[in-house]
């Protein structure tokens, strides 16, 4: 019984799907967030974040290995029944919706601040929704292909940052462990928002063509993400003085402002415009998962109408409340706490529960 065979995704698509979802707008302000919490040792928190992510994904894989054809919703139905499972599946669905909302709002705020200060916010969001709808109404395979394509198209972008190396001061990074381990652990708080995205494994797993290599895929995806983050963070730390970096809201963009050629000024603008593609590989799959989750809750096969409904809802809310930077920051703090619940706590509880469940229902699992 292979319910999701039609939309199977390959190993590469799985890697870039997770990587695409993880890297969003967080990278712009990540160096500042880390510097505020843990000074120039902040990049080490990313390594701890990587490690924690690997553990969490190991737990997820352990759960879904037993039920290789189940998404999270199927599994919840199986474990808790049709109605009880709603207690978990509704919050998970809400989480995906919040994630789409947050990333869309952030992207909109960036576009408004850098390119279109006079354009109304709901029009910017509306323009985002057109490609979002075109992509998210399709199946997971299209998501995977899109993420893979965007990764290849934007793989040159990190190298642009090498242009500022001439003005870097590596001495800023010394000494390591300035204040001991505590600040490094504290920095973890600000990394959580940026490295969120693993939770989709719980839905993607049955779609995987090659389930044995799922763990490897997650490790690779995570490593690419964390390496990109460490790279950006270290370059920002080396360029800006540790005393000044906390004064910038988006150190990465302020850094790009310095890059100037004889024939081209304001490279940050071009970078941000192209970076929007990378951000889109975050919100479009989240949109898909949100609509997919709603369709699961409604017990329908087709998720397309829900994509449209959610998008219209988002435009309407933007039209009514006109989100500001401060609001977006506040929301992202809440969503990252929410994310801890979904990515780390939920799989752990499920795993413990399944240990009992398996013992009780021996032999009638499949």
């Amino acid at each position: 019984m292979k319910k999701y065979a039609l939309n199977e995704i390959t190993f590469m698509q799985f890697i870039f799907l997770i990587h695409g979802i993880q890297v969003g707008t967080g990278i712009m302000s990540l160096p500042k967030d880390l510097a505020e919490k843990s000074g120039t040792d902040g990049w080490m928190s990313l390594i701890i974040g990587w490690f924690i992510n690997i553990i969490a994904s190991y737990v997820m894989i352990q759960i879904f290995k037993r039920f290789p054809n189940d998404t999270l919703y199927d599994l919840l139905n199986r474990l808790f029944g049709k109605w009880l499972s709603l207690f978990i599946s509704i919050p998970v669905t809400l989480y995906f919706i919040c994630a789409v909302w947050l990333i869309l709002i952030r992207a909109m705020l960036y576009i408004k601040a850098w390119f279109l200060p006079q354009t109304p916010d709901y029009i910017v969001v509306f323009l985002f929704t057109i490609p979002t709808f075109m992509l998210a109404r399709n199946g997971l395979r299209i998501m995977g292909r899109y993420c893979e394509l965007v990764f290849y198209l934007t793989a040159w972008m990190p190298f642009i940052l090498l242009l500022v190396l001439g003005d870097s001061h590596w001495i800023h990074l010394l000494p390591l462990f300035k204040e001991g381990m505590m600040p490094v652990v504290k920095g973890l708080e600000s990394t959580i928002y940026s490295i969120a995205g693993l939770e989709i494994t719980m839905i993607v797993y049955p779609f995987l063509k090659n389930k044995q290599s799922a763990m490897l895929g997650i490790v690779i995806a995570n490593s690419i993400t964390i390496l990109a983050y460490i790279y950006v963070t270290i370059i920002c730390f080396a360029f800006f003085s540790p005393d000044e970096i906390t004064g910038y809201n988006q150190p990465l963009l302020s850094l790009l402002k310095v890059i100037e050629f004889r024939f081209l000024e304001r490279f940050d603008m071009i970078f941000l415009a192209i970076y929007l593609f990378i951000v889109s590989t975050s919100w479009i799959p989240y949109m898909f998962f949100a609509a997919f989750s709603v369709s699961q809750l409604m017990r329908k096969q087709d998720h397309t109408p829900y994509v449209a409904v959610l998008l219209v809802l988002i435009i309407a809310i933007v039209f009514v409340i006109h989100p500001s930077w401060n609001q977006a920051d506040m929301w992202s703090k809440r969503v990252s706490i929410y994310n801890i619940g979904i990515t780390f706590v939920l799989p752990l509880l499920l795993w413990v529960y399944i240990q009992f469940y398996v013992r009780v229902h021996k032999g009638e699992l499949h």
């Binding site: 850098w114 354009t119 509306f126 001061h169 001495i171 800023h172 010394l174 003085s241 005393d243």
Partner: protein, 371 residues
């Protein structure tokens, strides 16, 4: 049906494409290429801009404007009242600060819009004007290109010979906020012509401290890890002094492949910096007779002594002013973090008590085409 749908979508999309209500025609823009901030005799803030005029009828190549107001952003409003078009800060080449302005702390906050507004560039060069800023802004030399271009080029090329530093708005931000170093900006003066005086060193709070002349600036640039450009030196070799009218005891050379190593120790409640400077030199001028082939070692020794003496003078000067334009504080933080933490908020004072030793190692690479 499907085509009808597609047409509809295209039409709706096209409606948004025309949404360019915030566009700006180039004719409607006044590019301020120079920004000047100064204090007048009654200590009122004085903002001035110089912007190019693109008109055949205009006799002068640029228009200059001066207003009295209290913030940079408000000055833009004042400028808009009288210039031909809307003032824009995206193309600024240089920011000139009057010396009177730099007598007071807190002037740095006036530059806030240059960092805050995304439309502004962070790459204009910052220069201190020894005298009135308006004298420079109003200056329009007949034999030079447009003033902003001329000024920016002058400062840039002066930096290539290490006559002055190349501090951009971005770099100034770093130097102001970094606790382990104090700012250094170009020093400019107008007597008849524009003249680069060297490098103005500022105190931790941004007030003017002292000016390094071009010779001192070269030594200063050597200590700076971000060095570039040419390092031409002329030194006196005491052993070759003679009684003749011209006193042929001078030697000129260009230093290349300069490298420095800085060691930091903490001894007897004071920081101790040991800096080893290594350089290779090529002779470019020698007024006395000397057998470089055989006695290169002797020459190297004397050059080293001369340079070391100059370094001692430079270090004494900046320590007396309680400033650290080189950024020794960065080394202190990296190597002696515990001690640094205690003094980081009054680093200038702590550095003035530090023991700084500069050792120079010179190697003559070539004596040129003649013996």
């Amino acid at each position: 049906m499907k085509q009808w749908k597609l047409c509809c979508t295209m039409l709706i999309l096209a409606a948004f494409l025309t949404n360019c209500s915030d566009r700006l025609n180039v004719e409607d823009v006044t590019f301020s290429l120079l920004i000047g901030i100064d204090l007048d005799e009654e200590d009122n803030l004085l903002f001035s801009i110089s912007s190019p005029v693109f008109s055949k009828e205009a006799k002068k190549k640029e228009e200059d404007l001066e207003v009295r107001t209290n913030t940079t952003r408000k000055s833009r409003e004042e400028f808009d009242r009288s210039v031909v078009a809307l003032t824009m800060g995206g193309k600024v080449q240089a920011v000139l600060l009057g010396k009177r302005l730099l007598q007071h702390k807190g002037w740095f906050q006036l530059l806030d819009p240059l960092y805050r507004d995304n439309k502004n560039t962070v790459l204009p060069i910052v220069a201190l004007v020894n005298g009135k800023v308006s004298d420079i802004i109003r200056y329009s030399p007949q034999d030079k290109p447009r003033l902003p271009i001329y000024l920016a080029e002058l400062l840039r090329t002066a930096h290539m010979r290490n006559i002055t530093v190349n501090t951009t708005i971005q770099l100034l931000h770093r130097q102001m906020f970094e606790k382990g170093m104090t700012p250094s900006i170009s020093d400019l003066r107008k007597d008849g012509n524009l003249k680069v005086m060297g490098t103005a060193l500022l105190k931790e709070d941004g007030r003017y401290a002292l000016t390094l002349d071009p010779v001192e600036n070269k030594l200063f640039s050597i200590l700076n890890p971000r060095r570039g450009g040419e390092f031409p030196f002329t030194v006196t070799i005491p052993s070759q002094s003679d009684e003749s009218f011209f006193k042929h005891d001078k030697l000129s050379f260009t230093a290349t492949d300069i490298s420095t190593k800085t060691k930091v120790n903490y001894e007897q409640n004071n920081f101790r910096f040991d800096i080893n400077v290594k350089m290779r030199i090529n002779l470019s001028e020698r007024l006395f007779a000397f057998n470089v082939e055989k006695e290169a070692k002797k020459l190297e020794k004397e050059i080293e002594q001369q340079l070391e003496a100059q370094f001692v003078q430079l270090i004494d000067k900046i320590q007396a002013a309680k400033i650290d334009p080189v950024g020794f504080g960065l080394y202190a933080r990296a190597k002696q973090y515990r001690q640094w933490k205690g003094v980081q908020d009054r680093w200038g004072e702590a550095f003035s008590k530090a023991d700084v030793n500069v050792k120079v190692k010179v190697r003559v690479m070539s004596m040129g085409a003649t013996k």
